[in-house]
Symmetry: C2
Subunit: 324 residues, 2 copies
């Protein structure tokens, strides 16, 4: 356990349905990590501390020393989380998030620092909020700065998911973001609308979504109300032009295509910027789908290396002077 | 029962969840009517004939004479209905539908004539289908012709509902139509997505949707991906700008607003036509909402008198020579 006695920080990404924690050394290197499904929705009786202690046990055969600071980001700071924290308005960077940490002492005497979420345009017609994604973007920005990559000008990050986020970074600060319910819309239309009825019962969206996804993308780029175009996921099947096993991929392409079409039309981070590339923060099949979709729009999209949430947590902790 | 001995036609509107039937005289006047929830989904063991006979009993204390012709339209001709009939391609009018009737003799010897649905662009990227709505529009056109109203040029009919239909009529023929899943999208987002979570548990969309509906309409007219704008139904509530009891009306306005924005942008029936008005075929609160929404776009929308499905069925039966 010599290595773990060197732990300088416990970084925690605590979401609605997932939990990840890392023991980091003073340089941010991972000593040990743990992950599980103990998202905030599955914490019993609101006993977040017990859930945390149980996870810390998995990080070490003994226990993590009581004086090692902890930092946590994600939905853990939402109304249904451990400590609800107010959103931080834009623009913001690692230093701003460090300055807005909410410290909390557990009954065992551990000191946990909560990273709050970000808000945008709260007095406007389209206010927006996020909790957790800001930390992933901050991690990516820190990673780029450490790698001495170009960080001036505008950058666009896209974080696919149930609620995908488009995040614009200008000169190292998050200056705008927008939520699009693409993943959730896909799920509810597939599971609860007429569009799911003709789908193969066992049909899953595959690793290579193929031609049906591309067709959906083309439909997503088209004109017309989204809910008129979405009906084509049924009518094409009725017309015999789409097979039951293709409907889900088609619908996925249509919704992602509409998200990207509209996002680009609004110029989220791309309008006039020197950097015309998009960075996707995500993994697996969904990140690949978004990369393919951006390519269909003629835009190069790179998928960021994994671990940006951990990188962001370390960066914020460093800025807050928690380490060493 | 003297009056009913004069029945010249039994007209039936047989949908997925509803059933209406009218005994009509040779001039199309209603002698008696019945309605119920015996839509095709609730017909037991596929025994449509038993369901029909039971309804006919309600039309008369005795039975409707076996030789009185019947005509039926709606989802009864779909795959899950009584007799599946092929869609009729556009353009079409009452005479075309009359020429495409599918006659069926029941085991008791009744002759029932099924009106088939319409299809559009079946080889294209956005094929579309409807069953039942074509008959309502035909009824409206016949009513206008009988009233010697202007029927030349283009007309636009909008039929709000689970799957709303926009139907363009040119010189008395249906020349284009489009389905928009507005009603279904509203229901699945309210009942199954995060947007429903902050709604009042008992909150219903009211008879006077009021200011929240108007705000939703404005958001529906805006830029951006629909699923990005839809998230504002949550974020405005988080920002304290929308009350829990207002979220459903706001979301309703947003989806209807997007439908109308996109429909008008595509010029469905309005582009360059002499007649710049829209006729809404529907009833109650939903028809009123659409009328208010069109007004917000600066377009006069009249709600058609009730009974257009019956009127259409009579018109088609007349053209088919079933009467007298």
């Amino acid at each position: 356990m010599t290595a773990l006695s060197a732990a300088a920080l416990i970084a925690i990404d605590w979401g609605t349905t997932s939990f990840r924690a890392w023991a980091l050394d003073a340089q941010g290197q991972v000593l040990r990590s743990t992950s599980g499904d103990q998202g905030i929705l599955s914490v019993r009786d609101g006993d977040f501390e017990a859930s945390l202690e149980q996870a810390l046990t998995r990080l070490d055969d003994r226990t993590i020393a009581i004086q090692v600071p902890l930092i946590a980001a994600g939905m853990i700071t939402s109304r249904n989380g451990w400590v609800e924290t107010p959103y931080l308005p834009l623009p913001l960077d690692a230093a701003a998030l460090a300055g807005a940490l909410s410290p909390h002492q557990t009954s065992r005497g551990r000191r946990i620092h909560f990273v709050t979420g970000a808000s945008s345009d709260m007095d406007g017609d389209f206010p927006d909020v996020m909790r957790g994604e800001e930390t992933e973007v901050i991690g990516q920005v820190a990673s780029d700065q450490a790698g001495q990559r170009q960080t001036a000008g505008q950058r666009l990050f896209v974080l696919p998911g149930t609620h995908s986020k488009w995040v614009r970074v200008t000169a190292g600060k998050i200056t705008a973001f927008q939520t699009c319910m693409t993943g959730e819309a896909f799920a509810v239309l597939r599971d609860h609308s007429i569009l799911g009825r003709l789908m193969d019962a066992g049909a899953q969206t595959g690793a290579d979504p193929g031609a049906a996804f591309e067709r959906g993308l083309a439909a997503g780029r088209g004109e017309g109300a989204l809910m008129a175009r979405a009906f084509s996921a049924r009518s094409l099947a009725l017309a015999g032009s789409l097979a039951p096993g293709e409907i889900a991929d088609y619908l996925s392409g249509l919704l992602i295509g509409d998200e990207i079409r509209a996002g680009l039309a609004q110029g989220m981070g791309l309008a006039g910027g020197a950097d015309q590339a998009v960075t996707i923060i995500g993994r697996g099949d969904l990140a690949e789908r978004y990369a393919r979709a951006f390519a269909a729009f003629g835009i190069a999209a790179a998928i960021a290396p994994q671990g940006m949430n951990r990188r962001g947590l370390f960066e914020i902790a460093t800025k807050a002077g928690l380490i060493g």
